[in-house]
Symmetry: C3
Subunit: 156 residues, 3 copies
């Protein structure tokens, strides 16, 4: 298949945003050997503002949580693109860590996390099939409803 | 010592279950180079149902939390066995990430996590001595009381 | 620049404590290949007691949260020093995982995490620029207000 991840992004109508600037004194993405380590990404607009603030089971609906997770994944892909140039240089999305701001009664974190996993799978195909950990956290930076970090293997 | 991890599992009376199916569109275990990355495992029965639902400090007793963590470790070992064949091919259990569903007042996450760490140590011996992070989370998928992920090095 | 990380620690007036003993049956630090994996570190004194207990947004002030995160980073550096001898053998601090015990309304986890990130940057310079994930958790071992784990690359 000659279709690239960039082609699939375009077919999905996903536009990669300007990279969100880091909220503090750390790096959004870092390479060590052939592994890329991405800092936790939030559902932020290019202007730095958050969308979908609040908690799942509280002010944020399940549908909006899924969209927020997808937006985190878009930011992850955007960081990867800026780092490796062509997304076909991604050998494997290894792991996503999905932190869902939740009220104690909310237990559908996997549904929220699928918003990110689905997009990663659609864009990277088999190379996007990843390990994942999804948990409910009590609060997130800036009252974001989801935060997702990633570990990604690149081609030598 | 010629005793294998499988021998030690048998001596402990631990039977490896059918692999739990993934709750969503991700992989339960993935290899990148010589490292295995395991998705967060829950205390689920082979039929997919959860045991020990609820929170530590809430409806789940400390003893049941320890048993739940041990059950997560059994699922981890089961995934390893299915992936590497002989468990003696595990070079080192590198890290466990232990997420304990907790009420705000519960602060004995290390006791719960020991349910997993003890079993891993008993089964893998020195190769089972691992780094660990244990935290209290507000809620987990399916109202599980513990979720544990793992990073494991295999022999070349 | 011939100044070593040890020089910078001294200039900052930071004294590395005795290593905190593990709270349970796991290792505080472990090497796999050229990567060091550090267990979650807590703001503990050398005698094992905790400082800054409680939650951000609850009994712990933002300033004390920052100091607690810095104390976690001191423990991380202490473990690194004990493992690699000269801190100049650290090739790169790859990632910090920062877990802040928070009430649901507290959303300034990045400010707290900077207590650790700032010290790591001051001590290791460019080799200290790291990826980071900061989240709010409902409770931590021993009622600690911050827990931080780390992944660190060493020179071959």
């Amino acid at each position: 298949m000659s279709e690239t991840p960039e082609d699939r992004l375009a077919a999905l109508g996903v536009e990669l945003p300007e990279l969100p600037s880091a909220l503090a004194n750390y790096l959004p993405i870092l390479r060590a050997g052939e592994m890329l380590y991405l800092s936790g990404q939030l559902p932020r607009r290019a202007d730095g503002s958050f969308v979908y603030v609040g908690k799942l089971g509280g002010g944020v609906s399940l549908d909006d949580g899924v969209l927020a997770a997808r937006m985190c994944a878009v930011n992850i892909i955007s960081l990867l693109k800026a780092t490796v140039g062509e997304l076909s240089r991604v050998e494997r999305v290894v792991k996503l860590g999905v932190f869902v701001a939740s009220v104690p009664e909310f237990v559908e974190q996997p549904v929220v996390a699928n918003g990110a996993s689905d997009l990663v799978g659609e864009v990277f195909g088999e190379r996007g099939a990843h390990a994942r950990t999804a948990v409910g956290v009590v609060s997130l930076p800036g009252d974001a409803c989801v935060e997702i970090d990633a570990t990604v293997l690149v081609k030598p």
